[in-house]
């Protein structure tokens, strides 16, 4: 996957649709990222922290029981084992280091369920930066434990009362806050979305996930790449990192969206949060709220590079329903001893479905990025079990 063009576009998607007061900051960010991402000292520090603090490289695990049942060889790239429990750490360490190099002392971030907020608070604590996390008031209520986690890590959590009080509004509020504090503050955006250069920067910081997976699975398969490489897509950062490792192989790449937040599958092209991409919107152009079982995929847009990869057909995008996801969540837990994040369970749900229908042919090698662990979701799933929503 290449650099975007000089206007920050992947094909026709991306760009910088932001108010003028943010333009200088975005241009500075691009210049600094370009400079430091080719600086061996910066890269050395980034890799060192991800290894000795972040727990990288994460392993690739063969799922023996599920592979037997499904008749395919199923492998997981284990981002659930990275520090803070998801791939988010890769991006925040990179951005926090970049912020320090740029002389910024504060980080601001948006968060939905709290994963990116916790990761940002963690990176800030490690590197001596001040973190402020914007979180929709509805999500603050739903994810009390993650709010406490962020506070424990020294971050300030600001409940967002505007709009629908969820992730999309947290992004708006973080942008508004950034306009005011742009001099000494870096906006640590959590996914491959937003205005250029964020989709590119975040993908580059997630590239480590894909590069590791590429060499690990190549060795495991005795010098071959898998037939399928699968990842879940909300904003799309774990998928972008994963696909960057396999885009030049023969592997079929599959991104799986939540059926209630499937911008690529059901959306139309529009402009929100500084980018041109597929988004969920009504007929007059108001942005719709996404809604699924996993807060991390409840985003009405998607990173512009995914829109590009959809249009040039290098990646196919599929969906999974809440009930398919819950079933996959339970199967992985009980048959393999791994409780997945509900986000990642979307990828697994599609693999189970496609293996059973024969769409993935028997004997295929399939790699799924398990973007995070499911501890955060256990309480919510228990509630659904108690209510009888699932068995």
């Amino acid at each position: 996957m290449d650099e975007p063009d000089s206007t920050g576009r992947f094909g026709t998607f991306g760009g910088r649709f932001v108010p003028e007061p943010l333009m200088q900051a975005l241009m500075d960010l691009e210049v600094n990222f370009r400079k430091f991402w080719s600086d061996p000292e910066f890269k050395g520090e980034y890799y060192d922290i991800l290894k000795n603090f972040g727990g990288r490289p994460t392993p690739v695990t063969f799922l023996k029981n599920m592979s037997n049942d499904l008749g395919v060889n199923l492998y997981l790239k284990r981002e659930d084992l990275a520090h803070t429990g998801s791939h988010k750490i890769n991006n925040v360490i990179g951005q926090a280091l970049l912020a320090k190099r740029m002389g910024k002392s504060n980080l601001i971030a948006e968060t939905g369920a709290g994963q990116h907020g916790v990761a940002t608070a963690t990176a800030a604590a490690l590197l001596g930066l001040k973190a402020t996390v914007y979180m929709g008031a509805v999500d603050v209520k739903r994810q009390g434990l993650n709010v406490f986690r962020m506070e424990l890590l020294g971050a300030k959590v600001v409940p967002v009362e505007s709009g629908s009080k969820t992730l999309k509004d947290a992004v708006n509020e973080a942008m508004r806050a950034w306009v005011k504090e742009v001099d000494d503050t870096h906006y640590c955006l959590g996914s491959v979305m937003g205005p250029h250069p964020y989709p590119w920067i975040v993908r580059e910081f997630q590239r480590i996930l894909g590069s590791e997976a590429r060499s690990q699975i190549y060795e495991i398969l005795g010098g071959k790449y898998p037939n399928y490489v699968v990842a879940c897509v909300g904003g799309g950062s774990n998928a972008a990192g994963t696909f960057s490792g396999f885009v030049d192989t023969d592997a079929e790449l599959v991104g799986v969206e939540a059926s209630g937040g499937a911008a690529l599958t059901y959306g139309t092209v529009g402009v929100v949060h500084g980018m041109k991409s597929y988004i969920l919107q009504d007929e007059v152009g108001q942005i719709l709220e996404a809604s699924s079982i996993s807060a991390g995929l409840d985003y009405p847009g998607v990173g512009p590079e995914h829109s590009f990869l959809k249009e040039n057909k290098r990646v196919r995008y599929e969906t999974a329903t809440d009930s398919e996801v819950l079933s996959a969540f339970k199967i992985l837990s009980s048959s393999e001893g791994i409780i997945p994040a509900l986000e990642s369970a979307h990828g697994l749900a599609w693999i189970i479905k496609a293996s059973r229908t024969g769409e993935i042919s028997q004997g295929s090698n399939v790699l799924l990025t398990l973007s995070g662990r499911g501890d955060k979701d256990v309480a919510e799933v228990k509630e659904m079990v108690d209510r009888g929503t699932v068995i």
Binding site: E20, P21, M23, N172, R176, V182, G270, V271, V284, I287
Partner: protein, 250 residues
């Protein structure tokens, strides 16, 4: 040829803002604004995700959307007006993209709207819309901010039509109790680089007549948004709104 706003006398230019359809009598308020000698009126199309707007204009946008406001309904309303005062539409870019650039500009022209202000369209992204607005004779007003360097400010001013919208501070729309130093400084810089016939108006954070008097020592006029919108939200009567606008002219 695109027309710029021109001063009729020595008084500063005053451009009040209202979010379209935020109150049932919004068209009457626009008439009153014109009667109160507004030099132009900025009408906002409400958007669900207004990135550069503070709580007051967010609230008015929410109200308008709840009242059933759409791009079409607001433009239809404006088309029905019979006033001399030029109307400028403020909209986030997605509402234009949704309709389609050419169709949107056609609709704007048929509604007798003079110009467009699109706050999430910086210089680097204006070309596609600008091609359409120029050939249709619609003025595209561009924005500069305190963070905009001089050279860039000059490039933006050169492409701006109608007037140059100068953001007085680094922040979102909303009332401020006093005029920030950045407003004076930015107004002065903008005036220096703007072509002579392009008026420089300062918006964001200009909420009171005395603030307007102070800032217009350095520029040609002001845009008053949140201070008016708050009054409309609070149920101010139409003539009170008119008086408030007139107080900027005295």
């Amino acid at each position: 040829m695109l027309e710029n706003l021109t001063k009729k006398d020595l008084k500063p230019l005053v451009v009040p803002y209202i979010t379209g359809q935020m109150r049932d009598d919004w068209l009457d308020i626009i008439y009153q604004m014109a009667n109160a000698k507004a030099d132009a009126i900025e009408v906002g199309l409400p958007f669900s995700d207004p990135m550069i707007d503070g709580p007051t204009i967010q609230e008015s946008s929410k109200k308008a959307i709840e009242n059933g406001a759409t791009t079409d309904s607001i433009l239809d309303g404006l088309a029905s007006l019979d006033i001399d005062c030029p109307i400028y539409i403020m909209t986030y870019y997605n509402l234009i993209v949704r309709v389609g650039i050419d169709r949107f500009v056609e609709r704007v022209v048929s509604s007798k709207v003079k110009g467009l202000i699109v706050p999430d369209l910086p210089l680097e992204e204006i070309d596609e819309l600008n091609t359409a607005t120029r050939s249709a004779g619609v003025s595209q007003v561009l924005l500069v901010a305190p963070s905009t360097p001089d050279l860039r400010m000059a490039s933006i001013a050169k492409r701006s039509a109608g007037f140059l919208y100068t953001m007085g501070l680094m922040g979102v729309t909303g009332e401020r109790s006093s005029l920030p130093q950045s407003a004076l400084e930015t107004a002065r810089r903008a005036k220096k680089v703007a072509p002579g016939d392009l008026p420089v108006l300062v918006g964001i954070g200009v909420s009171l007549p005395e603030q307007a008097r102070e800032i217009t020592k350095y520029c040609d006029g002001v845009v008053v948004g949140s201070a008016i919108v708050r009054r409309i939200l609070n149920g101010s009567k139409i003539d009170e709104i008119g008086e408030f606008i007139q107080s900027f002219k005295s």
